[in-house]
Symmetry: C2
């Protein structure tokens, strides 16, 4: 049987009952206890790492709506009110310099792996998305344009493709907002189908942080907010990453 974070989380249930008990996860060093400020997390994880390709950049497949809204948000990053979250090929690149808890350590690393939402490499065919994060309000906006390889009902994005991106956008937001690492649960309610090639705007925020869990919410709409595509909520487990020792 594989030991993973969720099993640790299950044990955590007992810890929580201890009044005044330490709010660190079993097996983790107290030096990585919660409390890293959002600003410090942003400065660590949203730095321009020039050795990795950022996939969250405009390309010729982007529709005019996606491009113009991207430029609007990019403008807002100049005042530090918003931050653009870079998007690399793998989460391994995102957490470079940090290590996963030993429960999640993987021995083999031989494959060419990819973050699921960056699995399709040809521009415009799969996921086109970019996430902007606002540190002060712990909220994000994700611009999403589903390509023809994300089809469900002919002509429309598969509900599963939207749900997967909600999970991904939640997880990046949850980590920056409060070191949320693992999805515990996710709910989604669909209201309209997203036509392939069009823009959907996802507004994500953190409803609350309680008992080492982040409660996330998301509404997915057309740019003019006249069409609600779906509403979603999710719970993430807080789990700070430790810095890798330099020797």
């Amino acid at each position: 049987m594989i030991r993973t974070g969720f099993q640790v989380a299950a044990r955590l249930g007992h810890r929580r009952a201890l009044p005044g008990g330490p709010r660190v996860l079993p097996g983790l060093s107290p030096t990585s206890a919660f409390g890293s400020s959002v600003d410090s997390l942003v400065s660590i994880f949203c730095l321009k790492k020039t050795d990795f390709k950022d996939y969250a950049l405009p390309n010729p497949s982007w529709c005019p709506d996606m491009l113009s809204l991207y430029q609007e948000f990019l403008e807002k990053t100049k005042t530090n009110e918003w931050v653009k979250i870079p998007s690399f090929k793998s989460n391994k690149d995102h957490i470079q310099g940090f290590k996963l808890p030993s429960e999640l350590a993987v021995t083999s690393d031989k494959d060419d792996r990819r973050l699921f939402t960056r699995c399709i490499q040809v521009e415009g065919q799969g996921y086109e998305y970019v996430i902007f994060f606002q540190p002060s309000q712990k909220k994000s906006v994700c611009l999403f344009q589903p390509g023809p390889y994300l089809e469900g009902i002919p002509g429309f994005a598969h509900g599963g493709s939207l749900t997967a991106l909600v999970d991904e956008a939640f997880s990046k937001t949850a980590y920056l907002a409060g070191e949320g690492l693992l999805t515990i649960s996710l709910n989604i309610r669909f209201q309209n189908l997203i036509p392939l090639g069009s823009l959907a705007v996802m507004n994500i925020d953190v409803e609350k942080i309680e008992d080492q869990k982040l409660y996330m919410r998301c509404i997915i709409q057309s740019r003019d907010q006249q069409t609600v595509y779906a509403k979603s909520s999710g719970v993430f487990l807080q789990w700070p990453l430790e810095e890798e020792s330099s020797h």
Copy 2:
């Protein structure tokens, strides 16, 4: 604003209040009313259509566990107790000879489109899965082996990739079990991470069919059932497809 099935579904809410009202969806011909037997749906949608490639067939990337369980279920199809659901490149191929309701009709069809869970074409890199359906008990088993392009936490399948496949396996099962076409909602609760390249077994069933909705359930486990990866539930809207007229 796009008119889709969900808006029809919203209108349906009023209809339901009418005692003894007709159980057909507005805008659909009464000749396509519910009541197609599971057996007739299976015979229409699970026939071998030799002009389409079936992606749910063993290939060299399959791990021994996946292959042996596939062969076990294939053996069961010989008695008609179980049926293997074929898996084509697009849902357009799955519903060949049938038409979508006009609310879901798409004018343009120029792109090379793919069903999201068949979006990665290289064997073993993305989704490897096959679904077997048992008509008499309205349940399915889906064998799932996530490839290295489905990564989330390094070394493990992205929660979103599992959720998307649950949605897909629900939808195929829901259509065969009772003409469930559109996902209304989906919930998933994760318990353990699935290592990339390993086998996860999804057991799906229909909890109930009520008020033109199918209530689906799924548990995702290791083959030996010692590790539960996740549990999920979903609600699907019944919506029979009409046969395309031949002229």
